[in-house]
């Protein structure tokens, strides 16, 4: 039978463990401030946008690509929906659909140029990052205030103690965790990322699949942008700046690899959660000014190094176990 007890080899497990340790330690040090529902709800709310984008980025990274234009798409989708609602008085659902549709088009252009023309994803999505940021500034100028109440409620209403974006995030993570684990369609991204040539030889239509993944990425970024705009009650063209790197880092922390073929959706959530918790802890610890960046960097490195150590230790244990089993076999 397979040797499945070596769960420490799974980044999701070690990361979850690290997060639990962080939470326990912080709760002991700051018993009142850290471990409250209120605090948790705020932490989750503030990472909901990142986590939604991270889900799409995880799928892209599984397939061996990434997208730098997501931050711009976040700004643009919110701005475009806002523009339609505010200046043209478009009905809220229609504006949302229109903004999502345009996001999908952006994703299609990225995917098409990467998959069919063969432009390097870094260059393509970097160029698109600039283009879409320009468009975002164009549609929303200095920001569009006073969006319709029915729109704002989508991001501001509460449900069971959490603001809606938290629920959206949870829903998206659950849905995509399930889809990626269980459907043939999403499973293909593991083949593509694991060995593109082999995927092609196995009859997977790699080009098309790539286009779909970029479309999905832009769709989720657009959705995140709309949620952010409704949370802010305003569309601001400067939102989402630097988001791409933050999200890619979180996703890699969560078990993806730039080489592709690895990762689980829940890792995207854990990665963003981890970064969110560290930031939170630093504020609790009154780390200020330039020390924030320095200490954040050190914690990040330390956490990953510990994780690797855990994995190696687990590896060694696993091998030792296998060995015992094998030698038992010899001796009989």
């Amino acid at each position: 039978m397979s040797f499945n007890s070596n769960i420490f080899q799974d980044r999701v497990v070690t990361l979850a463990l690290t997060i639990v340790v962080l939470i326990v330690v912080s709760s002991i040090i700051w018993p009142q401030q850290f471990f409250s529902l209120e605090n948790l709800s705020l932490v989750l709310l503030n990472l909901s946008i990142d986590a939604i984008v991270a889900v799409g980025m995880m799928i892209l990274l599984i397939s061996g690509a990434f997208d730098l234009s997501v931050g711009s798409v976040v700004a643009f989708a919110g701005g475009f929906a806002g523009y339609l609602m505010y200046y043209w008085g478009v009905y809220v659902p229609v504006a949302i659909l229109a903004a999502l549709a345009v996001s999908v088009v952006i994703g299609f252009v990225n995917g098409w140029l990467v998959a069919k023309v063969g432009i390097n994803p870094l260059i393509q999505t970097l160029a698109m990052m600039g283009i879409v940021r320009g468009l975002a500034l164009m549609v929303s100028g200095s920001g569009i205030q006073n969006l319709p109440d029915s729109f704002n409620r989508l991001g501001q209403a509460q449900f069971l103690g959490f603001q809606l974006p938290v629920w959206y995030m949870i829903a998206i993570v659950i849905i995509f965790s399930f889809l990626v684990a269980r459907t043939i369609f999403f499973r293909r991204y593991y083949y593509i990322g694991g060995n593109e040539k082999a995927a092609l030889l196995s009859g997977i239509q790699v080009g098309k699949m790539k286009i779909y993944s970029f479309i999905l990425m832009s769709f989720l970024a657009g959705l995140a942008g709309i949620i952010l705009a409704s949370r802010l009650g305003a569309a601001m063209p400067t939102t989402g700046q630097g988001l791409e790197l933050k999200v890619i880092t979180a996703v890699i922390l969560g078990g993806a690899s730039l080489l592709g073929g690895q990762g689980k959706i829940v890792g995207a959530l854990l990665g963003t959660l981890f970064m969110g918790i560290i930031a939170n802890i630093m504020i609790l610890a009154r780390v200020s000014g330039y020390w924030q960046q320095i200490i954040f960097g050190i914690i990040l490195i330390a956490a990953v190094a510990i994780d690797l150590l855990l994995q190696k230790r687990a590896d060694r244990m696993a091998t030792a176990l296998v060995k015992m089993k094998q030698f038992e076999k010899f001796d009989t």
Partner: protein, 516 residues
């Protein structure tokens, strides 16, 4: 997936019907005309072998059949109708299944996921049914006699031989009407080959057709009905296997007779490598000595641990016990560079993953070890490297447009020759070769044996790991047999025979144990 059953046998009239016909197929690559007006036909219920030297165009022809390449000229007929095989998916739809010469598995996915790539069994909600997936995988593996492959296990944890069996399982999982096997036995053991042939015969008996490519003449004569020979991309002839013989085919392939390798014993009594009580993750108690100018064979079944022992000696994997002495000197473990400095060389079995720099030139590959370990100067010796390359291209008859060509565009056998050349170039004191002739054509093989022999004449000692038993028998002075990470026999030339080795490697005999 419906498993073929023995009850259904095709009627004899069917047998002569042409299932597939290729007409005047040509294919060009930058610098080479890989296929030149090739004709080929495949009957219902036959095994049709294709022979040819390395670079003759066999794989290219198969790539055209499986939709990976489009021919520049020519047409393909299936059951008399012209078809266009635009991509691998189309080939699958047309019932063409292929086991590629090059690995087409995804390393970090499980065996089951690989076998049913993009084709997993689903439940009624169109969700992947893991249980069914595992069951079907296990069924298939059982049919292939691979009981010990874990359907959940990651593919990159398997030895290359087992990976090859997974490839075969993958092709069979789609129940193809035409199965293409492109050198399926280059990396697998004799026993697995037998299982494979059983499956091939079963398929043929059900009216399916098999295209079989191999450089092992014995296999071709064992399994095929007809043989087609290619030479330099040109069609030579198609012969009934019963009506021809090895020499005729080789003459068609090479254009001349091959001279037999004649064995010489050069082994001396000087010990150059002494391994004692070496222990690793999957092996234990490994002790043996290698003498100057000796060719020592490592025999054993797939997964017996031979490659791993070799890598441990070479310093790739950290050994967890025992010691390795080179000419009496202890070498640092876990440091390849140190091993090479001490005169050790290791030709890995998996050329694409461990041996080649695919996107680099022939010259860069051949000079890779030499320039990184032996050259004392600072600058790249361009002239020296070019001369070196030219020498080996000639000596090993490597088919390449030039020394500047990227290795990725060469045929499998020619790539293997380059990995070999890279080690021959440094002329190591002790050379460990792991499946050195995998995928190499008959003509070149005997050249390589000659070369190895020349090396021993110059004082080099060689450890040869091979799954090609006749090869070991032909060239070795002594053979160690391995089973489950242990040495079960140490046989000198007088004592070894195919039968003896099979006994020791399958566990029915053991020199070092009383009871079996």
């Amino acid at each position: 997936m419906p498993l073929p059953s023995l009850s259904y046998l095709i009627d004899p009239d069917e047998k002569d019907r042409i299932r597939l016909r290729l007409k005047n197929i040509s294919k060009r690559f930058p610098g080479v005309l890989a296929l030149d007006q090739v004709n080929f036909d495949l009957k219902v219920g036959e095994v049709h072998a294709i022979c040819g030297e390395n670079g003759a165009g066999k794989t290219t022809l198969m790539n055209i059949l499986s939709g990976n390449l489009q021919p520049d000229e020519g047409s393909i007929f299936l059951h008399g109708d012209e078809v266009k095989i635009t991509d691998p998916q189309e080939a699958q739809r047309q019932g063409i299944g292929i086991v590629y010469q090059e690995k087409s598995l995804v390393g970090n996915l499980s065996v089951a996921d690989n076998i049913f790539a993009g084709n997993q069994p689903v439940s009624k909600w169109h969700l992947i049914d893991r249980r069914k997936l595992i069951n079907q995988t296990q069924q298939l593996l059982r049919k292939l006699g691979m009981h010990d492959i874990d359907a959940h296990g990651r593919v990159d944890k398997l030895s290359p031989g087992k990976q090859q069996m997974v490839e075969i399982a993958k092709a069979l999982s789609r129940d193809p009407q035409i199965l293409i096997l492109d050198e399926p036995t280059a990396a697998i053991s004799e026993q697995d080959t037998k299982v494979l042939f059983k499956i091939v015969r079963l398929m043929v008996s059900q009216g399916k057709s098999v295209i079989y490519i191999s450089h092992r003449m014995s296999e071709i004569f064992e399994v095929s009905d007809r043989v087609t020979v290619l030479k330099d991309g040109k069609y030579q002839n198609t012969l009934g296997t019963k009506d021809t013989n090895v020499n005729e085919i080789i003459r068609l392939m090479v254009g001349r007779d091959i001279k037999e390798f004649d064995y010489q014993n050069l082994s001396t009594s000087e010990v150059v490598l002494s391994v004692s009580e070496l222990e690793g993750d999957r092996f234990k108690n490994i002790s043996f000595q290698l003498h100057r100018s000796e060719i020592l064979g490592f025999a054993g079944l797939v997964g017996a641990g031979r490659s791993e022992i070799a890598q441990s000696i070479f310093g790739v994997t950290p050994d967890t016990g025992g010691q390795v002495l080179i000419r009496g000197k202890k070498v640092k473990s876990n440091e390849v560079a140190n091993a090479i400095e001490n005169g050790l060389g290791y030709l890995p079995e998996n050329r694409k993953e461990q041996g080649l720099f695919l996107e680099m030139s022939v010259e860069d590959n051949i000079s890779s070890v030499k320039s990184n370990t032996q050259t004392r100067g600072i600058f790249i010796e361009r002239k020296g490297n070019a001369a070196l390359t030219e020498e080996f291209v000639r000596q090993l008859n490597i088919k390449t447009p030039s020394g500047k060509t990227k290795v990725v565009s060469l045929s499998g056998g020619n790539q293997q020759k380059i990995v070999l050349a890279k080690w021959l170039a440094v002329n190591p004191d002790i050379l460990i070769v792991d499946e050195p002739t995998a995928g190499i054509d008959v003509g070149a093989k005997s050249e390589i044996y000659q070369l190895l022999n020349q090396l021993t004449m110059a004082g080099t000692s060689i450890i040869m790991i091979s799954s090609d038993l006749p090869e070991l028998l032909g060239i070795c002075d002594r053979i160690l047999v391995f089973r489950h990470g242990r040495i079960t026999a140490d046989l000198s030339r007088e004592k070894f025979s195919e039968e003896e080795i099979m006994h020791y490697s399958s566990g029915t005999k053991d020199m070092y144990r009383e009871k079996i």
